[in-house]
């Protein structure tokens, strides 16, 4: 959860940027190992399902392979590109779920298969689900995936000031909702 705040002139992924554009296997492997944990955590926070989160991340890397020739900038841009890709794919997945939702009372009771969710406070989960998509995304990017305010601003295509203000509002709202559910 390192939130290095400054807009550093060099990024650990900078050395791989050209390799990514050229389609180099080593470059992709290095970027994958460096970002997969943060990306999967972000997707898991949005989707609440580990399997779906891992699929979204894999799809995003495949998308990176197809689009990397056109990606400009250095390592930081590639990281931001991946987070944006995971964000949109997760939102698409959520939309798909809503479209094909089956009333829960029509389903038989089945044991929870995602053990990770058992560890998550049900109050927290419920409160997070009550947040708007944007607030939930901001909190998970900042507190779970560990992105700095500047990085969150780049992923959300917003100004840093606006992002900080929105994160503060989302935190207040989450606390309020958690108090209500307790």
């Amino acid at each position: 959860m390192g939130s290095a705040e400054g807009v550093a002139s060099s990024h650990p992924l900078d050395r791989w940027a050209d390799g990514i554009r050229a389609g180099n296997d080593d470059a992709f492997a290095a970027v994958y190992h460096d970002t997969v944990g943060d990306l999967t955590s972000f997707a898991f926070g949005l989707l609440g399902s580990r399997g779906a989160a891992e699929d979204v991340v894999q799809d995003s890397f495949i998308e990176l392979v197809r689009s990397s020739r056109g990606i400009r900038g250095e390592g930081r841009s590639i990281r931001v590109w991946l987070f944006r890709c995971v964000r949109f794919r997760s939102l698409d997945e959520l939309r798909r779920r809503k479209l094909h939702a089956i009333p829960t009372d029509a389903l038989p009771e089945i044991p929870h298969l995602d053990h990770q969710l058992d560890e998550i406070d049900s109050g927290l989960e419920e409160a997070l689900n009550k947040l708007s998509d944007r607030h939930r995304t901001l909190l998970i990017l900042h507190h779970v995936a560990g992105l700095s305010g500047q990085e969150v601003a780049e992923v959300m295509r917003s100004s840093r000031g606006a992002v900080y203000a929105a994160i503060a509002r989302a935190e207040r709202r989450l606390r309020q909702l958690m108090e209500e559910t307790e």
């Binding site: 944990g37 890397f61 909190l139 998970i140 779970v144």
Partner: protein, 192 residues
């Protein structure tokens, strides 16, 4: 802040099996990318250049067209763009067109074109163009109604001349004896 620390529980670590699976998928996608032909950038550039050249050429070629011409729709399609810079062009075009076609169209078409031209001229309030339209309208009123040749009938009576070869001579039931030589269409037979 302690409440927010609970968010840490959403933090997941990706196991080695999943990493291997993901890397295999990435490698497969990379080898597919290497085999796929690179987008033909030159072809794209040449096509873009050709289109960029074709559009102004078509616009230029359509400049002097009148309603009914093949490229006339191109002219009217470009007019809204040109009107942003020069509204007078549209009005002037309408008057020019009407002058060119006024003796070739029937009264109804003439009235419709005149109405359209007047609307454009009123927009820019141009007195010269207005006078040209007035003149056209006066000339039209002074001219006796034209006999507009409709499409030829299915069967032409054998004792009448072919409507397609009608000249300014009024149609007559009498056999035409003195036909000026310049109106004879090649292939016609002049009967005595």
């Amino acid at each position: 802040m302690r409440d927010l620390e609970k968010l840490d529980r959403y933090r997941v670590e990706v196991g080695p099996e999943r990493r291997t699976e993901d890397l295999q998928a990435i490698t497969a996608a990379l080898s597919q990318r290497r085999q796929a032909p690179r987008p033909r950038r030159h072809a794209i550039r040449w096509t873009a250049a050709a289109v960029a050249l074709l559009i102004p050429t078509a616009a230029l070629a359509a400049e002097n067209t009148v309603p009914g011409d093949l490229l006339y729709p191109v002219k009217t399609a470009f007019e809204p763009i040109r009107m942003v810079f020069d509204r007078a062009t549209a009005a002037s075009n309408r008057v020019d067109e009407l002058e060119k076609v006024s003796d070739q169209v029937d009264d109804r078409t003439f009235d419709s074109r005149l109405h359209e031209a007047r609307r454009e001229v009123d927009r820019i309030d141009d007195e010269t163009l207005r006078r040209r339209l007035d003149l056209l309208e006066t000339e039209r009123l002074d001219t006796p109604p034209r006999a507009v040749i409709e499409s030829p009938p299915d069967s032409v009576p054998s004792d009448r001349p072919d409507p397609g070869t009608l000249t300014t001579n009024p149609p007559t039931t009498e056999p035409v004896r003195d036909i000026p030589t310049e109106t004879i269409v090649p292939g016609d037979r002049v009967e005595d």
